[in-house]
């Protein structure tokens, strides 16, 4: 079938996944594998004063117990991803007796069987000298540390706010959350002839390769990181998790492959998480709804061991036209494992508060919340005055309102009910996500047998990259879908970008596009012989000459040396320097955008929620969600829809369920399993309608595709909170919104 851009091609990897033949990282068989298990700290902060492994080592089958005593090895220079490295944290467990957070790895046990390793891991006896610790941003001893370089000041927002007739000033809270991908964390390390193979679920195989090369003092070519499929990553599997390094060290010492699969509860502390945030939002408007001041002060949880922040205010500042904008960011260091990227890291928490406040402003104005947003639609970026590469927020709202039936909404609180007596609430919110880009390489090979092979060390998180990247090549080369093969998730392939920041389609896709164009050029040249290639075209599997005579592509290729044409291309965003590109392709973190010297590039969306609230019990159910998004050119409507829908469903979870609770007296996460950490089940999600609007963006990248991967979650929490207000009159300014928040 036609596999070109815009066709809803069915997921290329679907059959392998549903039939169980797709190999995930932990599925790769390696002969003579030994199994690892972790012992983690039971205190939050302090020192290990004694660690006794005698009993653990006595468990039959135990081969090795690594502790800070026995590790005793100097690692190569590597560091935290936010400091330019590839690690999840600056702190490497087992390199000292220090304990910085609860659930920190204090020993790694390796045994002949999984059962023996687990049993022995429990028999590692540790005594700690514990110190006072705080894991919550609400603890009295925590202080806000301003990040002055993140401040945004346009005009005089304070003065404008003071003068304005209608204003909102409210503070909103979001909790810590964990990714909880269904595929658990883990790693298998295999050394052969001094070279290291790592099978670990990874959103960044080349970055992991570069980091492991640095740690083990090896050339990059001696490291291979392989992760063809992911059972969810959501940002948690981008960096090198410390246990991967420990597993590799254990495997080298033992001379055997070592495999670790991290149990669910341990996953809460050996990886990253979405930090808690507190947002104070102040908005002011004239009586007619013209916004005159936008202020957003965000304080977000960070770690004592690593300063880390995902500032939302640089994004919320882009939403509405206002002559006066004042944005402030700060962090609050806590005794936790280092927080990290989690789907829309800045935007999802930041927009809950910001878009709730916009709804509060609409209520204060007595104005329809969509009308308020449209009235304040900015013609250019409100911060820098740059033109948008494309922005279709208003069309998104218009189409979304139509799909949702917004005109049937009566604005008075509690004015809508269902036939069975439930209170009905309708709410909406805006969403955006920056369209940043990374450099990428890609290889495209067209063979005489008709197949087209696309290779790139990019990643398919389960969201469709295998399918979409194939379509980009098929579109240029006119190859039917069934003859396209795509290879991803292996660091031996041409360098691909981190699967983060929603960059894969735009970045890797641009590289594939470029390589495919190069293949086409050679193909046409071959067909032209000594003639002018420009007078030849490619259509329907044939090369058409100036005489309108078509020759099958296979026939042309048969005349080429080797019977195939292969091209590799390096693509970089237009605003990026060559040095930056080379750094990125070598496994560095190289982003360009979303604002460049000429344009601001963001995807936008309008999101709607219907909630039903039981008038007596005050339980909330989300019966309907509508999302309309503008993300540039949609390569595959099927996978894009699915990706956006997944984000919206997560947004419903964010609004009503997800919270990693902090046991404040003991300064640790409390609900560290899936019985305690709730996310939506199928039964919680009613109808979900997703559409995209047509949008042409000739600026953002070679294929005109903007960010799809993360925007779906961004507006949903506020849309649901706003719907709950509409149903009940209760404005809940924190998530998750629980039954007790509505009992009155």
């Amino acid at each position: 079938m036609d596999g070109s851009i815009g066709v809803p091609v069915v997921r290329r990897d679907g059959a392998a996944k549903t039939s169980g033949t797709a190999l995930y990282a932990a599925d790769f068989p390696h002969a003579d594998t030994a199994y690892a298990a972790l012992t983690t700290s039971t205190v939050t902060r302090g020192r290990i004063i004694r660690i006794d492994t005698t009993e653990a080592e006595a468990v039959p089958g135990v081969q090795m117990v690594l502790t800070h005593h026995s590790l005793n090895e100097t690692l190569g220079e590597e560091t935290f991803v936010m400091k330019g490295g590839h690690m999840q944290s600056s702190f490497m467990p087992l390199t000292s007796d220090e304990v910085h957070y609860a659930g920190q790895i204090v020993a790694l046990v390796v045994a002949d069987t999984q059962e023996a390793a687990e049993e022995a891991s429990r028999k590692v006896s540790v005594d700690y000298a514990a110190q006072h610790a705080s894991a919550s941003i609400e603890d009295a001893d925590r202080v806000e540390e301003p990040m002055d370089d993140k401040s945004i000041d346009v005009g005089d927002a304070e003065a404008a706010f003071d003068r304005a007739p209608v204003k909102v000033d409210a503070t909103y809270l979001t909790p810590a959350q964990h990714h909880n991908p269904i595929e658990l964390y883990g790693a298998t390390a295999v050394w052969q002839d001094g070279k290291l193979l790592v099978n670990a679920p990874s959103q960044w195989v080349v970055g992991n390769q570069a980091g492991l090369a640095a740690i083990f003092g090896l050339p990059m070519d001696d490291i291979r990181v392989e992760s063809p499929y992911l059972g969810g990553g959501f940002g948690a599997k981008a960096t090198i998790l410390p246990h991967t390094v420990l597993v590799a060290m254990a495997a080298r010492r033992l001379g055997r492959p070592v495999k670790l699969v991290v149990p669910r509860e341990t996953g809460f502390t050996v990886s990253s998480f979405r930090p808690a945030t507190r947002s104070r939002v102040r908005l002011a408007a004239e009586q007619d709804g013209t916004i005159v001041a936008v202020m957003h002060d965000e304080a977000a949880q960070s770690a004592v061991i690593d300063h880390v922040a995902f500032p939302a205010t640089g994004v919320t500042a882009r939403m509405y036209a206002s002559p006066n904008i004042r944005m402030r960011e700060s962090t609050i260091a806590t005794d936790v494992n280092t927080p990290g990227f989690q789907r829309a890291p800045a935007e999802a928490p930041g927009f809950f508060g910001f878009e709730s406040a916009v709804d509060e402003l609409a209520v204060a104005l007595g104005m329809d919340p969509i009308e308020l947003r449209i009235k304040n639609e900015p013609v250019c970026d409100p911060v820098k005055g740059l033109p948008w590469s494309s922005r279709s927020l208003v069309p998104c709202f218009r189409r979304g309102a139509e799909l949702f039936g917004w005109n049937r909404r009566t604005p008075e609180v509690g004015s809508m009910t269902t036939p069975d007596g439930m209170l009905l609430g309708w709410g909406c919110a805006s969403a955006t996500y920056p369209s940043a880009m990374c450099p990428s390489s890609a290889r495209v090979k067209l063979s005489a047998d008709g197949t087209c092979v696309v290779s790139c060390a990019a990643h398919d998180l389960g969201t469709g990259a295998y399918t979409v990247l194939g379509q980009v090549a098929a579109d240029v080369l006119g190859v039917p879908d069934e003859l396209v093969r795509v290879h991803l998730g292996d660091s031996t392939l041409p360098s691909g970008p981190v699967a983060g920041g929603s960059v894969t389609t735009g970045s890797a896709g641009s590289a594939v596009h470029m390589a495919a164009l190069a293949v086409r050029e050679r193909l046409l040249k071959a067909a032209a012989g000594g003639g002018d290639p420009a007078s030849f075209t490619l259509a329907g599997g044939h090369v058409i000459g100036p005489d309108s005579h078509g020759r099958p592509v296979a026939e042309v290729l048969a005349s080429v040396t080797g019977g195939m044409i292969e091209e590799t291309a390096d693509w970089k965003p237009g605003s990026m320097s060559g040095d930056q590109m080379r750094m990125g392709l070598a496994g560095g973190m190289a982003f360009a955008g979303p604002t460049t010297e000429t344009h601001a590039s963001y995807s936008f969306g309008a999101q709607f929620a219907e909630v039903r609230v039981d008038p007596l019990l005050r339980t909330v159910r989300v019966s309907r969600m509508v999302g309309v998004f503008a993300c540039g050119r949609i390569i595959n409507p099927r996978t894009a829809r699915s990706n956006l829908m997944g984000g919206m469903i997560w947004g419903a979870s964010f609004a009503l369920l997800e919270e990693t609770k902090v046991d404040r007296p003991r300064a640790r996460f409390a609900n560290t399993d899936l019985a305690g950490y709730h996310f939506s089940t199928n039964a919680d999600i009613g109808e979900v309608v997703v559409e995209t609007v047509d949008e042409v963006d000739t600026v953002v990248n070679a294929i005109g595709a903007k960010a799809v991967g993360e925007i779906g979650i961004v507006g949903m929490p506020a849309a649901i909170a706003n719907a709950i207000y509409h149903a009940t009159g209760v404005r809940v300014r924190k998530t998750p919104i629980l039954v007790e928040d509505l009992l009155g």
Binding site: E119, L656, R666, G676, D684, V739
Partner: protein, 327 residues
């Protein structure tokens, strides 16, 4: 988990004999016991699998005494047509519990013996008088939204988590136990132990004893019964609060009432105070709410769970109003 011997019993007598060995524990559907062993909360040296024993999975819901074999699966019992018609509260309590996959595997006997989901008990490291007697209770000053406020003590505030048990408490229920020494029948009200000073012990089941059946005295109020489960999500979540109400009515007047609570107490909790409010009254929303308030008169709220008094009041009211409309 520590090494253990797995024994698959092929008769009840063989199972009883195996169960009488020191360090033995019983596994039926495995949904509770495997979980406890994986969490190092149970470490039997001998695991006696009775899941496939013949003769213990029959149910009879038609006679003057409803009889549920201990090995009957939750999913099967939930769909029993007679139970659905005559005792909807019992069906609903099963259908609203866990997930379909778990209900397919879990047995009724194991269900009433499931242990608390208290995170401080489960985490293996917090102070917990239930896990390590005398070590204290981290839930008292910790995250205690999920904790109980009835039948709790200063030693333990954990809740009994089950839905089926919570509903059974509203009926005249008994549990049949067998051991190599013989058999005995324990009224359900005495089957679970309130926490008091010894929260480590949760039921009267002794080492070597196996639950063989659960019986319920037939009663007309069964038809006007319902199980209202309030939970944070629509499926696969323990109750924040649950209320079971079974009524006999003469017109709009309640002539007899049974009320029990789940998710809020140390054991399946009968609420006679609420029953007293309802009995003899014309059922209105106000009376139903008054009954709900009475059910929580003795509540001992903690920092994060005081809302359950109000939520529980409303859940009882909802259940009473729903039950009264059943025919």
């Amino acid at each position: 988990m520590q090494p253990f011997t797995y024994v698959r019993a092929d008769s009840l007598d063989a199972a009883l004999s195996e169960a009488s060995q020191p360090g033995a524990a019983i596994m039926a559907g495995g949904t509770t016991m495997v979980d406890l062993m994986r969490g190092n909360l149970a470490a039997p040296s001998r695991l006696v699998d009775i899941g496939h024993l013949p003769g213990l999975s029959e149910i009879d819901t038609t006679g003057p005494v409803l009889r549920f074999g201990a090995l009957a699966r939750m999913a099967d019992v939930a769909e029993d047509a007679t139970l659905l018609r005559d005792y909807p509260a019992l069906s609903e309590s099963l259908r609203l519990a866990a997930s379909q996959q778990l209900r397919n595997a879990a047995t009724l006997g194991g269900n009433i013996l499931q242990r608390t989901r208290c995170q401080y008990f489960r985490d293996g490291i917090s102070n917990c008088n239930k896990r390590v007697p005398g070590s204290g209770c981290s839930a008292l000053d910790g995250e205690n939204r999920e904790m109980g406020l009835l039948g709790t003590s200063d030693q333990c505030v954990a809740t009994y988590p089950g839905d089926w048990g919570a509903a059974l408490a509203a009926f005249d229920t008994s549990v049949e136990l067998r051991s190599v020494g013989g058999s005995r029948t324990v009224p359900f009200a005495q089957f679970h132990l309130p926490y008091g000073d010894d929260p480590a012990h949760e039921s009267v089941v002794q080492p070597g004893e196996i639950v063989t059946a659960i019986t319920v005295q037939a009663m007309p109020a069964g038809r006007k019964s319902t199980y209202v489960k309030v939970r944070d999500r629509q499926s696969y979540a323990y109750a924040v609060v649950s209320a079971t109400v079974a009524l006999e009515m003469d017109g709009d007047t309640v002539t007899s009432a049974r009320v029990s609570l789940g998710g809020v107490a140390s054991k399946p909790w009968r609420a006679p105070e609420a029953e007293a409010v309802l009995t003899g009254r014309t059922l209105t929303e106000a009376v139903a709410l008054e009954a709900g308030a009475a059910a929580f008169a003795a509540a001992r709220p903690l920092h994060h769970n005081a809302f359950k008094i109000e939520l529980g009041r409303r859940a009882v009211a909802r259940a009473a109003l729903l039950a009264s409309k059943r025919t």
